[in-house]
């Protein structure tokens, strides 16, 4: 089952296209990271997924074929928008009650336990909590709905490093609790530009740029299919003509090439060294080279190199 599936999805705001012909699928059971530069269309995509916006062209379905925004979809998807909007004049206890009254399911015991672990007083107004506590409260309200899909839009943007760590720990614990990977367990999709944090948590990557999908696939698979070659800068162009190079970084006499590979056994050109690539490096390389793509199936732009097939 795919928790999110888009086909030719496009969204136009007045005269500009925020998303253009966006086709991808995220299978259930993952913590999927939606990565891309500001303005790439991440928030637009998530708004379409949770039904806040409607597509201009194309379709988006969730949880194995439900139309986004349908009663079934709203019932099973919990969304924490950017900056975790809460009713700031309501005490935490009333936010709990309000959320439980707006939903068919609400695990009040879980919510209260989480909040007491976090040291968030029920009587305090939501607006008087610290930024990290507000994010945690919004996340707790979302998790207490026992969703099958948790969607988080830039949850880490305004948090300090410690709060980021705690926030992601809560997300991962909840995903693990519900039985990761099983049908019926909770899947997570989060957008972020905090790359370092994603490396630890995400096992599925969607890289968006310019309103289109650039890279999509399981993180392990993507890492296994790329490697970095380090060698003399003078020979870089010659290698780049022979191998599917994504990005060339030159540092003095040395050049670092991010290269697609069929696996670790592929021979290394003489005089070059091969290293595994980190997720952060992979993402940065693709971000610097918006023309390159790694997609399952045919990709978008005119591409001289063969496409990566990840499944």
């Amino acid at each position: 089952m795919n928790v999110i599936e888009t086909k030719g999805l496009s969204k136009r705001y007045r005269s500009t296209w925020a998303l253009r012909d966006f086709t991808m699928a995220i299978p259930a059971g993952h913590v999927a990271a939606l990565v891309g530069p500001n303005g790439a269309g991440k928030t637009t995509l998530l708004n379409l997924v949770v039904g806040l916006a409607a597509p201009s062209v194309g379709t988006v379905t969730v949880l194995g074929g439900e139309p986004a925004g349908s009663p079934a979809a709203l019932d099973d998807i919990a969304f924490v928008a950017q900056d975790a909007p809460l009713y700031k004049n309501l005490p935490v206890a009333d936010m709990l009650r309000l959320t439980s009254y707006l939903n068919r399911r609400f695990d009040d015991g879980y919510a209260r336990e989480r909040l007491s672990e976090l040291g968030i007083p029920l009587k305090r107004k939501a607006g008087k909590l610290s930024g990290g506590q507000q994010a945690q409260l919004a996340l707790t309200l979302a998790l207490a709905r026992r969703p099958r899909l948790l969607v988080l839009d830039e949850p880490l943007a305004n948090l300090d490093p410690l709060a980021r760590h705690d926030f992601m720990a809560t997300v991962l614990a909840a995903a693990a609790e519900t039985g990761e990977g099983e049908v019926g367990g909770m899947s997570v999709v989060l957008s972020s530009h905090v790359l370092a944090e994603l490396e630890r948590v995400a096992d599925y990557l969607i890289l968006v740029s310019g309103g289109q999908v650039q890279v999509v696939g399981e993180v392990d698979g993507l890492l296994a299919r790329h490697r970095v070659l380090t060698g003399p800068a003078g020979a870089a162009d010659r290698i780049a003509r022979r191998l599917p190079v994504v990005y060339v970084r030159r540092a003095g006499a040395q050049a670092h090439l991010l290269v697609r590979t069929s696996g670790p056994d592929e021979p290394v050109p003489p005089g070059w060294e091969a290293h595994p690539v980190s997720l952060e490096e992979l993402v940065l390389s693709y971000l610097r080279e918006p023309g390159a793509a790694a997609l399952p199936g045919p990709a978008r732009t005119q591409k001289a190199e063969p496409m990566e097939v990840t499944r």
Partner: protein, 326 residues
């Protein structure tokens, strides 16, 4: 939540029971109660004032009326005149304040109800909960709409009671400055003002500009109704003092003029003064008016179109909420 994914979408949709209205009403009340408290405080003070003044006005009126039941006479006329001069200003001020009540409902209850959610971004929270945005918006609008309308209905009764003696001595309830404060028109104006505010809120998406727009739109509608629309609810009657008799008790006089012996309308000031000083033969006074008996008919027409307008505006508001992109 174990085997649900095996079912198809249509099966699941029919199986999902909507979130109960009672719970949505609590949500609505919890978020509305602060502004409701403000309105209650304001209306409470106003009601207390009307009640106290009403008792005094009615006491004074009864005293004047007890003067000389049958004949009247100059002495009793003086008692009525005294009553009138003493309480006319009070009545006019309270009518003026009361005229602002529908506007307050539009500005402080109607405009913020959705604009605050849109301005603060909390609609992203509210519209992605299981209840769905349509039911949420209906609950958010219905509760304040019903309470302000009910409060307005009670107020127009109170005002009618307070004002009754003054209708008797000087003004008709049909007078344009009081018509929308009495009967059922006042409640309808309040509901319409609320609906105008709600629609302005969802269109403008910011609280303060939506309040300003609601105030302007409501004032424009009231002026249009008082100055142009209301007199055309029914074709007015025409009377002249030499023929078909007077327009009856306490009519709403729309226009009056004099005609000379040649049948032409008197326009010169000198001729007018001459007529007023001693009525000359051949001159006739013409009056275009709505008889007081049409009061309830007019109330029904005015309340009817305002109710239709309010429902239309609320439907447009819900429609905008449904299609509004996040």
């Amino acid at each position: 939540m174990t085997t649900r994914s095996t079912a198809g979408p249509s099966y699941r949709d029919t199986r999902i029971r909507p979130v109960p209205w009672r719970r949505l009403a609590w949500v609505s009340w919890r978020q509305y109660r602060l502004s409701a408290a403000g309105l209650v405080a304001f209306l409470g003070v106003l009601a207390l004032y009307l009640l106290i003044m009403g008792l005094r006005v009615r006491g004074a009126y009864d005293a004047a009326a007890a003067c000389s039941p049958a004949a009247g006479g100059p002495h009793c006329q003086d008692a009525f005149n005294l009553f009138d001069t003493r309480y006319a200003a009070t009545a006019e001020v309270s009518a003026f304040v009361l005229n602002a009540v529908p506007m307050l409902a539009g500005v402080f209850a109607g405009a913020p109800v959705l604009a605050r959610e849109l301005e603060a971004g909390t609609f992203r929270f509210a519209w992605t909960q299981g209840a769905g945005r349509t039911r949420w918006a209906l609950a958010r609008l219905a509760l304040p709409a019903v309470t302000v309308t009910a409060a307005a209905a009670a107020f127009s009764q109170l005002f009618g009671w307070f004002y009754y003696p003054l209708f008797a001595t000087r003004d008709s309830a049909f007078a344009p400055q009081y018509f929308q404060l009495t009967g059922i028109a006042f409640a309808a104006w309040t509901l319409a003002a609320f609906a105008i505010g709600a629609l302005a809120g969802v269109l403008i998406r910011r609280v303060v500009p939506a309040m300003a727009a609601a105030m302007a739109a409501w004032a424009g509608l009231l002026l249009a109704a008082v100055l142009y629309l209301r007199r055309h609810y029914e074709t007015p009657l025409i009377a002249h003092n030499s023929g078909r008799g007077a327009p009856g008790i306490a009519p709403w006089v729309i226009s009056q003029w004099w005609t000379g012996p040649n049948g032409k309308t008197v326009t010169s000031e000198n001729e007018m003064i001459a007529i007023l000083n001693h009525l000359r033969r051949g001159y006739a006074e013409w009056t275009v008016y709505q008889p007081a008996a049409r009061y309830w008919h007019f109330q029904l027409i005015e309340a009817g179109w305002l109710l239709a307008l309010a429902l239309l505006l609320i439907a447009a508001t819900i429609w905008l909420v449904r299609r509004r992109a996040g």
